[in-house]
Amino acid sequence: MESGSAQGERYAPSEIDVSLRALLALFVIGFGVWVVFAWMRYDKNAAQTEQGWHKGTRQLIEVTLVREDANKLACASNITLEGLSCGYLANSQPRVPPPQDDAHLLRPYCNVKNDVLLAAGLWDSPGMRGPLPAERFTVVCNYDIVGVIKSVSLRFSPNDKFDPAKQSLPVGILTDCVIPQ
């Protein structure tokens, strides 16, 4: 309304500075929101979901099992990730040579929220070496995610055919497994 007035001249912004100022404002706002989130303990309110898993993270998970699963669960894929591989190739034939031990052999597991994951190392974990319960039980482990596999087939019983996974699955190593008392 006061175009051309002295007041207007005083407020005329320079053409580059104005956008740099807006960029600076965005970063200041982002930092401020980060501080407020931390202060309001966002991590207690915005619960992590299983979908929050990404490469390089460690998650605490709870897996449901029966002791026969050590011989029943298997996956098939040609991919080897960080030295971890399935016991079978994509053509459903056993991998030759087979993965050297349980710490390198991927198997499919379901956590208590029914999310499927591929993991190695569960049965060699010190907490699993004693006698296992005869009934279905749960195991709590640290799950270190090393990557994701898109093309993989799963089998939950030796009598079943390998069934292609419908989605990408996280791949990782299970450690420090314990059976909760």
């Binding site: 309304m1 006061e2 175009s3 051309g4 007035s5 007041q7 207007g8 407020y11 912004p13 320079s14 053409e15 580059i16 104005v18 956008s19 100022r21 807006a22 404002a25 965005l26 706002i29 982002g30 929101v33 980060w34 407020v36 989130f37 966002y42 991590d43 309110n45 915005a46 619960a47 992590q48 979901t49 979908q51 929050g52 898993w53 990404h54 490469k55 994701v148 898109k150 990408s168």
Partner: protein, 445 residues
């Protein structure tokens, strides 16, 4: 420039701003001071409403499932299957990297840009109307409007798009040479990489640069960088998701998405609303809704009725004035056009109002023509931003002659904002209490 010089520059700017604020306060009347206090409450309250418990609910709401898993896909290095350009999801993946794959992470970018919109409204209002008062009004109106508050609280792209479009216009109105035009074009390219409908900002941006900044006409050709920016963003996204990054693959992807969006005009949706109903918020979406027992939590995108009714009344009044000047008073076509022109360039309209109106119309027009069947109220958000800028300028102008009327208007807007705050900012309320605010059945989830 050394860091010492930059610090000194900021210190000088801060000191100068403080001196201007204190001088303006000292010279203001008691009524204007009261209005200023109410505007300040609107801004602070609006920002608090945006931030408070933004992570609630910790699950996907409304259209978040279309975007959040795809943002996460970029971190996993797998394909983005969403049908919009990638930048919004890349912003969201930054939030997920900072806070984890949770509701705080995926709503972080929308919240930051939502607060930035308040700051941009101040700068843009000041730049359009050449008075800080108009900027303050515009910032307070954006801050205390539920349409903007709700889209700051949800992992959706429309609030971010609006913020980037306001930023683009701020760059456009400040442009004086080709460098300013280039900055504007880069920002438009970034906005278009969030959502394609942002491209229509080019019309008001170019007109503003030519009329206000008086840049050379040829410099408008610099807008050719907009598709280059979009291509660059898209190639980066494809690289992150492990997809082919050659131009032929990108072309196939983009042309497939364009066809998909054109075909969507044949779809139906219960939340669908035509563009002309947006002006009266006939079908605003409750973008977040959750329940714990009898407690309900709403984040409705209905705007502050005081603001949108005022905008609509001004548009109707202006239209009547134009029609009256065209049809009454006699004379030939030239005389009638001259009378219409006098109205448009005189007070209270004038060039700044016409420019904000152009922004409003340019961002609304595509939905009246291109996709007028499968459209939703939130498409109006960028356009509505310019309507609030216009309102800020009008109210600041009116304050000089009728400060008490403006005080009453601002007070009424604040009271209405306080009344609607529970259904904008997800307060724990009973359904019947919410229904007293969301009165038309079309406003309820």
């Amino acid at each position: 420039m050394t860091s010492t010089a930059v610090t000194a520059k900021f210190a000088r700017a801060a000191r100068s701003t403080w001196q201007r604020v204190t001088a303006a306060w000292a010279s203001a009347s008691l009524t204007e001071r009261a209005t200023t206090v109410l505007l300040g409450i609107m801004i602070v309250g609006g920002i608090v409403l945006r931030i408070r418990a933004v992570w609630h609910p910790p699950t996907f709401t409304f259209d978040e499932p279309f975007f959040v898993p795809n943002a996460h896909n970029y971190l996993l290095g797998i394909k983005d299957t969403n049908d919009h350009p990638p930048l919004f999801k890349l912003f969201m993946s930054v939030g997920i990297l900072l806070f984890g794959y949770n509701s705080a992470g995926w709503r972080f970018p929308a919240l930051c840009f939502g607060i930035l919109s308040v700051v941009l409204a101040y700068w843009l209002g000041r730049a359009y109307f050449r008075t800080a008062r108009a900027g303050l009004m515009a910032a307070a109106f954006v801050a205390a409007d539920g349409f903007f508050i709700s889209y700051s609280r949800v992992g959706l792209m429309d609030g971010i798009l609006t913020s980037l479009l306001l930023w683009s216009m701020l760059a456009a109105i400040s442009a004086r040479t080709w460098r300013g035009v280039l900055v504007t074009a880069l920002l438009v390219g970034i906005a278009v990489s969030v959502k394609w409908s942002g491209i229509f900002i080019v019309v008001p941006a170019v007109v503003t640069m030519l009329l206000v900044g008086r840049v050379r006409f040829w410099s408008v050709l610099i807008f050719a960088v907009v598709p280059v920016v979009q291509t660059g963003v898209w190639l980066l996204a494809l690289r992150l998701s492990g997809e082919p990054t050659d131009l032929a693959s990108l072309w196939r992807l983009v042309s497939g998405l364009v066809k998909h969006h054109v075909d969507m005009n044949l779809s139906t949706n219960p939340l669908n609303s035509s563009w002309y109903t947006w002006l009266i918020f006939y079908r605003p979406v409750v973008v977040k809704f959750s329940a714990h027992g009898v407690s309900k939590f709403y984040s409705s995108s209905v705007g502050n009725p005081v603001f949108w009714i005022a905008v609509d009344l001004f548009l109707i009044w202006s239209f009547i004035q134009l029609v009256a000047r065209a049809t009454a008073g006699g004379g030939g076509l030239r005389a009638r056009l001259a009378r219409m022109r006098d109205f448009l360039v005189g007070k209270p309209v004038g060039k700044p109002i016409l420019l904000t109106l152009l922004g409003w119309a340019a961002l609304l027009a595509p939905w009246t023509i291109l996709r007028n069947k499968f459209s939703f109220t939130h498409y109006y958000l960028p356009s509505y931003g310019f309507a609030l800028l216009m309102l800020g300028g009008l109210v600041a102008y009116s304050e000089r002659k009728r400060p008490k009327t403006v005080l009453l208007f601002v007070a009424l807007a604040l009271v209405v904002a306080i009344y609607f705050a529970p259904v904008w900012g997800e307060f724990s309320i009973r359904e019947q209490v919410a229904n007293r605010r969301l009165i038309p059945p079309g406003w309820r989830p």
